[in-house]
């Protein structure tokens, strides 16, 4: 029988913590609310991380997330769909849209794709303001129906983490699958991988579609949870913050992304009263992390361990 390693133990500890948390925090519904928000943003960060594996720096993740929530709102309000059905629709529409967009752009190189997706996100955001009659303009959409059967905040919390767990499991499986191997191979040595007949393009398509599907589902969930949508949630700043979570947590690791997102959102809640000093603090944190700790939070234990090993080695 295999022994449980450091990874398995910490994984089960984290899952257990999230399962028991509502019992501990029964009197603090606000904490649950923050954790639900953390779950929503973590999904987006995971999507970005998945795309980074295939050398795509996406700036349109937040747009697809918004597309999901607007789809949910329109399907339930204007078409009268069942909210559970609309939640699936919220995932499907961004998927189709991203597949269409990828058709022309999937073979672009990293820097170009970054600006390309950025411009798409800007165009989507502008459209929300301009097409006022249908999408609500700057006021957004209010009175979105909740999901039936989910009533208390604890139940929302469990639903959020159920979705998060499912998505994490899919991404984990994908990384271990053939596609994950191809992506890893291309990252290690692109020329060699290409000379062996491996192309990154099809993997990119799979990753793009999956990441945007997840973003859409979580967008629908977010719309149902908050009951109101505002285009100001979808500004480019929000997109940039996702990258801040990613780099602070540590890229290439599901746990790191979760940790970075949770840490940053809690910092924001704790230091909220500082008001106008916040952007300077965020900026300083980001610059420090990028220049000094490029591996992010998740690399810190390893760093300390390797430091001790180096001290021991000569004896």
């Amino acid at each position: 029988m295999e022994r449980f390693g450091y990874k398995e133990i910490s994984f089960s500890a984290v899952v257990a913590f999230f399962l028991i948390f509502p019992v501990i925090a029964a009197k603090e519904p606000y904490l649950l609310h923050i954790l639900i928000i953390v779950a929503v943003y973590t999904t987006l960060v995971w999507g970005l991380d998945l795309l980074l594996d295939c050398a795509l720096i996406s700036c349109s993740q937040i747009a697809f997330w918004g597309m999901g929530s607007y789809t949910f709102a329109l399907l339930t309000l204007k078409c009268g769909w069942n909210p559970w059905l609309a939640l699936i629709g919220a995932g499907v529409v961004p998927t189709i849209m991203s597949a269409l967009l990828s058709y022309s752009s999937v073979n672009l190189k990293t820097m170009y794709w970054c600006l390309f997706s950025l411009v798409f996100a800007v165009a989507f955001h502008e459209m929300l303001f301009v097409w006022r009659t249908f999408l609500g303009g700057a006021e957004g959409i209010r009175g979105i129906p909740k999901l039936p059967l989910v009533t208390s905040r604890t139940e929302w919390y469990y639903l959020a983490f159920f979705l998060l767990f499912l998505i994490g499991a899919v991404i984990h499986q994908l990384r271990g699958s053939r596609i994950g191997l191809i992506l890893r191979g291309v990252r290690i040595n692109e020329e060699l991988a290409r000379s062996a007949g491996i192309s990154i393009i099809r993997c990119r398509l799979v990753c793009l579609v999956l990441a945007n599907f997840f973003a859409g589902i979580m967008g629908g969930f977010f719309a149902a949870y908050t009951g109101a949508l505002s285009p100001f949630n979808l500004e480019l700043d929000a997109m940039f913050f996702l990258y801040v979570y990613l780099i602070v947590g540590g890229k290439g690791s599901l746990a790191g992304c979760l940790a970075g997102t949770a840490l940053f959102i809690f910092i924001r809640e704790l230091l909220g009263p500082l008001g106008i000093y916040m952007p300077v603090i965020y900026g300083t944190i980001v610059i420090i992390f990028v220049t000094l700790i490029p591996g992010g939070l998740v690399s810190l234990p390893q760093r300390f361990l390797s430091h001790f090993e180096r001290v021991k080695a000569p004896t």
Binding site: M111, F116, V244, V280, G283, V286
Partner: protein, 292 residues
């Protein structure tokens, strides 16, 4: 009709100043400087400090403005050189440089917010009069922006085609290793390119400051347009950037006159989406941006 022409020219010139600076940085360092808009904002702030706050007490407005302009360009060019130094240890990693420049945006905007407050600042206009000639009228201030903008653009063109170091910069933009093998000091050229690019952003900010108001977030709008221009024209291509600036500037001016500004934006974005779907590498973009 002349009004549309002048509006279009005005839009285009500011866009050209910004996007050419950005393209220079892409050519020199192979990274996108997302903090370009923040540097534009800093340029505006320097002019506001010198002229609006009378940091340098001068009675002559023109002299004060000129000093403010030169100071803005010099400060921000220096900042650009420092940023290049920060970017160097990242070894051209696109993700890291992307996030570093995002951090810089947050930092600079936050610093201006903490330092000078959130309220809108106005820089006094240099010229109050309006020129009326051959059937159109134009505020002198805008005319001034046009003239100086064209002068800067022309100067840059001469620099890039005639000066030795300018030619070296173009060589680096074309082929980094090849340029290094010819004995060009690529680090120096990179730092100079970053300084010039950032200086151009500051020049645009300093020129625009008297026309609009100044606040920590003025950089976002122009820099977003600048990204659109670059995607339209082809990233890293100077002629593409200039052509797309004119295209975006004029489309916006024409549709703003006839259709209202909301629709104008939508038309620009629609144009963009069409180009993105048909020719994702942009009008002037080469095949080097596509995996084959």
């Amino acid at each position: 009709m002349m009004g549309i022409l002048m509006d279009g020219l005005f839009n285009s010139i500011t866009l050209i100043l910004l996007s050419v600076g950005m393209v220079l940085v892409i050519g020199m360092l192979r990274i996108v400087n997302f903090a370009h808009g923040a540097l534009y904002m800093v340029g505006s702030y320097v002019v506001w400090l010198v002229v609006g706050q009378r940091l340098i007490p001068l009675d002559n407005v023109y002299l004060g403005y000129s000093i403010g302009f030169i100071l803005a360009v010099a400060c921000v060019a220096g900042m650009g050189a420092v940023i290049e130094r920060l970017l160097r240890p990242l070894k051209g990693g696109f993700l890291e440089s992307f996030i570093l420049t995002l951090g810089l945006i947050l930092f600079l905007e936050g610093a201006m917010l903490v330092g000078f407050g959130i309220d809108e600042k106005t820089v006094p206009s240099l010229f109050a009069k309006t020129v009326t000639a051959i059937g159109f009228s134009l505020p002198q201030q805008r005319l001034f922006v046009l003239v100086v903008g064209i002068a800067i653009g022309g100067g840059l063109w001469v620099f890039l085609t005639k000066a030795r170091i300018g030619i070296a910069m173009r060589a680096v933009a074309q082929e980094l290793e090849g340029a290094a093998l010819q004995g060009i000091n690529i680090r120096y050229v990179g730092m100079l390119g970053m300084a010039i690019g950032c200086g151009l952003a500051a020049a645009a900010g300093a020129l625009i400051a008297p026309v609009y108001t100044v606040n920590p977030y003025i950089g976002t709008g122009p820099v977003t347009k600048c990204f659109i221009v670059m995607v339209l024209g082809g990233i890293g291509s100077l002629p593409g950037a200039v052509l797309a600036s004119f295209l975006v500037g004029f489309v916006e001016a024409i549709s703003a006159t006839f259709l209202g500004s909301g629709t104008a934006k939508l038309i620009v974005y629609f144009l963009l989406l069409v180009v993105m779907l048909i020719r994702p590498m942009g009008l002037y973009g080469g095949q080097e941006w596509v995996h084959r």
